[in-house]
């Protein structure tokens, strides 16, 4: 019989295995990037740095009962009767049968939710992405002067005296000379000054022209796809350029510039005239973003149901956009879940693929599913063989 208190400070097993778990989470994330890229929690994160993402791969699979089909025993407050509803499915937090409290917790939560840092996810996603045709623009980037303090000298202007270092030098000298490390008796040789250097910096700017079809046929799902795509694209461009601007243009039969909020939330109706958006994009470029100074990335999402008579014009303007821009992207979004090959005769993607003159700077993809967003990103920003 005894009571003891030992030093446990070296006990780190839990922490070590916690790291192993984290490693597993990371692995699982890497494997599931496809579904994570379009996860609502991230796309709608609104500036939060960490979000919770369900990761199925981390379940601890065992043979277990289907809790939804199992009769269980519970306890009431003394007044329960047959027919009483004690919980609704979904918010069911009860334990499984008697005694197994732990199993109860697991039964409710169907999967493990990992807390992920959006920046980390972004780093993983961007790992194999690059900006196509960046170089030639960078040469023309604007130069700007910046000043950086990056050296220490023995002489200089009093205003730039580095006091910390001075004290340090003084103590060291005292220790050397008197054998005692103390501060005092400052001499000129103890003084240290910060000096600076002027450097030229290349600033590069990019503008994304986000074009989206908001005609009647573009439903919630299609908008969401476009939204998650733009979310990552903007993030990605920000890692490469100092300054990324985004212009939102929505169109049905007419195009107009809108705010971000309107862009993602407004529903419209009516038909689709794609050329209207391309014309507006060209106008915006001419007015505000000179191609000599800006890297320009127009991306257009539509379901491809363009008015037949407009196709000619759309192709012509698309060609023009391609001439002025770094890369022109076009994403055609299908119906949710219909991964099959569904295409109306007027679908724009096949027309673009057939008829565009300069396809080197054109990327067209088709997206039918949330999981397709990641491959699409890769296609837009993937490494390409220079032709």
């Amino acid at each position: 019989m005894s009571i003891q208190r030992n030093d446990w400070s070296l006990q780190r097993k839990g922490i070590i295995d916690q790291d192993r778990h984290k490693e597993r989470v990371k692995e699982a994330i890497k494997k599931n990037l496809g579904s994570i890229v379009s996860n609502e929690a991230i796309i709608l994160s609104d500036g939060k740095r960490t979000v919770k993402v369900p990761i199925r791969a981390l379940d601890e699979y065992k043979f277990r009962f289907d809790y939804r089909k199992r009769k269980q025993v519970g306890q009431g407050d003394g007044k329960t009767r047959v027919g009483d509803v004690i919980a609704r499915e979904g918010q069911h937090g009860q334990g499984q049968g008697g005694g197994s409290g732990q199993a109860g917790q697991d039964a409710g939560g169907e999967y493990y939710e990992a807390e992920v840092n959006i920046d980390e996810i972004a780093a993983l996603i961007f790992e194999d992405l690059q900006l196509p045709f960046l170089e030639e623009k960078a040469k023309k980037a604007i130069q700007s002067k910046t000043t950086r303090f990056n050296e220490i000298r023995r002489t200089g202007v009093m205003a730039n005296l580095d006091k910390r270092r001075m004290i340090l030098e003084n103590i060291k000298r005292n220790a050397r000379e008197e054998g005692k490390a103390r501060f005092g008796d400052v001499r000129k040789e103890d003084l240290r000054f910060k000096t600076w250097e002027e450097t030229m910096r290349y600033e590069s700017n990019a503008v994304v022209l986000a074009l989206m079809d908001v005609s009647g046929s573009m439903g919630e799902f299609k908008k969401y796809i476009a939204r998650s795509f733009f979310f990552w694209m903007v993030r990605f461009l920000r890692t490469k350029y100092d300054n990324v601007e985004i212009v939102f243009i929505s169109h049905h039969t007419e195009a107009r510039e809108v705010t971000e909020e309107q862009f993602f939330t407004q529903g419209e109706s009516g038909g689709t005239v794609v050329s209207s958006a391309y014309q507006l994009a060209l106008d915006v470029i001419n007015a505000r973003y000179r191609p000599q100074e800006w890297n320009i990335y127009p991306f257009h999402f539509s379901d491809g149901d363009n008015y037949y008579s407009d196709n000619e014009e759309a192709v012509r303007l698309a060609d023009e956009l391609i001439k002025t821009c770094n890369l022109f992207g076009y994403g055609e979004i299908g119906e949710e879940g219909s991964s099959s090959y569904r295409r109306s005769s007027g679908a724009l993607l096949s027309i673009f693929n057939d008829r565009l003159k300069d396809k080197e700077r054109f990327v067209g993809v088709r997206i039918d599913d949330k999981e397709d967003v990641y491959p699409a990103l890769k296609q837009f920003f993937g490494k390409r063989n220079e032709l």
């Binding site: 019989m1 005894s2 009571i3 003891q4 208190r5 030992n6 446990w8 006990q11 097993k13 839990g14 922490i15 070590i16 295995d17 916690q18 790291d19 192993r20 778990h21 597993r24 379940d59 601890e60 699979y61 065992k62 043979f63 277990r64 009962f65 289907d66 809790y67 939804r68 089909k69 199992r70 009769k71 269980q72 025993v73 519970g74 306890q75 009431g76 407050d77 003394g78 329960t80 009767r81 047959v82 027919g83 009483d84 509803v85 004690i86 919980a87 609704r88 499915e89 937090g93 009860q94 334990g95 499984q96 049968g97 008697g98 005694g99 197994s100 409290g101 199993a103 109860g104 493990y112």
Partner: protein
């Protein structure tokens, strides 16, 4: 914690020990350690200190630790069933909390020592798991951390599927017996003479698994012995995990009883200590927190506690009928409690001692999901409630799965059968678990079960799942 407080605690422990012995409790000698929260949660998440490393422990640790950090839950006590036993006290506990925990722990330790279900338990398990852990680390070093981890993932998927009565020696199949009897090389270096000879390929590859032990409930043991493709180190890992589960299974079989018993005794013991009024208040508050009904669900502490109190009452003051029919005398309550703790497990405990009056008093009911939407109370008749509770406790809440054939299709495929008793398996989980079984067996695996009253066999061949 101050040294003075530890002195006080030691004094209290002596007193608690005396009181407990006076009541007839007979625990192993018990050492208490005062530990910080991180260590408490570590021991809690590994269930034993010094166990092998695996990410699932890290996950559990992280979850417990986070709950604690956010003030959502707190473990007061962890007890280790060894001889001597260990009880861990959280360094932030108040003196009254610590006294209650010590009394509670002594209840557990008495249970561990005297329940027949623990009679075969390895009481030096802490040393054993630490040896295991060392061996696993060695394998990690030799075969790679990832390969050991993946293998553990697979074994963990079926770790509960061992035979709780493993210690009842079964007849050894003859072949194994004979192999054992083969004479060992006489001299120390005799096997050198065989160096030039071509070694026979691993004997076990050729050997058909024995059929005389089938059906076999102990999946871990069966696969460990008969899997056509495991490496020696992998069999060793399975053997170690089997040993650890042998240690944990009796705890899973007696959870309600064990907690009820410990709660019953901490209440009795605390009453005998001289506590100040405010300490009494604090204790009453704590105690009611431990043994209180949780709305909707069952609190094992509370259920066990109530049943033990009820047993005491019924054997102390038997009714006229009980006296005549069963020859029950007065004042045998405590003796009966000790008898129950010695002989019963949760299933028999509930079946024998959960009475109509208790079911009513505790307001127990059966509930189920109606039309995929509402969890609805569907039964309140006490026998049905009791039977459902017993059914759910059977096989400690896990589906009963056994090996039906280890040479299915004459092709060394593994055929498992779920002994269906009214509850269906979670299909998605079953398929994933089958993949793990495949990792262990190395050849196609099958699982027979019942879905919507129809017999269904799931197949997995390493590539694809099929069902018919």
């Amino acid at each position: 914690m101050q040294d003075r407080e530890i002195k006080d605690l030691e004094k209290a422990l002596e007193q608690i020990w005396e009181v407990a012995r006076g009541f007839g409790l007979d625990p192993f000698p018990t050492r208490f350690e005062i530990v910080p929260a991180t260590v408490m949660y570590e021991i809690g998440s590994y269930a034993l200190p010094g166990r092998y490393s695996h990410w699932t422990f890290g996950k559990a640790y992280h979850r417990m630790k986070t709950m604690y950090d956010f003030g959502l839950s707190k473990i007061y006590e962890v007890v280790i069933n060894t001889n001597p036993s260990y009880g861990f006290l959280l360094e932030t506990n108040s003196p009254v909390q610590n006294k209650m925990v010590m009394a509670h722990v002594l209840g557990h330790v008495d249970f561990f020592k005297n329940s027949v279900y623990f009679s075969k338990t390895n009481r030096r398990m802490v040393e054993s798991v630490s040896t295991h852990s060392g061996r696993m680390t060695e394998y990690e070093f030799k075969y790679g951390r990832k390969s050991v981890e993946r293998f553990l993932d697979a074994v963990l998927a079926i770790e509960e599927h061992i035979d709780p009565n493993f210690f009842i020696k079964r007849e050894r199949p003859q072949a194994v017996e004979e192999r054992r009897r083969r004479p060992a090389p006489v001299g120390r270096y005799d096997d050198i003479w065989q160096l030039g000879e071509k070694k026979e390929p691993e004997e076990i590859e050729e050997e058909k698994p024995p059929t005389d032990s089938l059906p076999e409930k102990d999946l871990i043991h069966y696969i460990m012995r008969n899997s056509p493709h495991l490496q020696p180190w992998q069999r060793d890992v399975m053997a170690m995990m089997h040993e650890e589960m042998e240690y944990f299974i009796p705890q899973m079989q007696t959870k309600i009883m064990n907690e009820g018993f410990a709660s019953y005794w901490h209440a009795r013991i605390m009453r005998e200590l001289d506590l100040t009024d405010s300490e009494h208040m604090e204790f009453a508050d704590l105690h009611s927190g431990v043994v209180s009904p949780h709305k909707g669900q069952l609190n094992p502490y509370y259920l066990g506690y109530k049943i033990f109190e009820d047993i005491e009452r019924r054997w102390d003051n038997p009714t006229e009928e009980e006296r005549e029919k069963f020859g029950r005398k007065q004042g045998e309550g405590r003796a009966k409690i000790f008898e129950v703790r010695e002989l019963d497990n949760d299933v028999s405990f509930l079946r024998n001692y959960l009475t109509e009056e208790l079911c009513e008093e505790l307001d127990l009911f059966v509930y189920e999901l109606v039309e995929d939407e509402e969890w609805t109370i569907t039964e309140k008749r006490w026998q049905r409630v009791r039977d459902q509770l017993v059914a759910n406790m059977t096989n400690f809440g896990f589906p009963y799965i056994e090996v039906a054939d280890g040479d299915y299709n004459n092709n060394r495929e593994l055929y498992l059968r779920h002994a269906y008793e009214g509850s269906e398996l979670d299909g998605r989980y079953a398929r994933k678990a089958l993949e793990h079984v495949y990792t262990l067996w190395g050849r196609p695996v099958h699982l027979e079960t019942i879905v919507d009253d129809e017999r269904v066999v799931m197949h997995y061949d390493g590539q694809e799942h099929e069902e018919d």
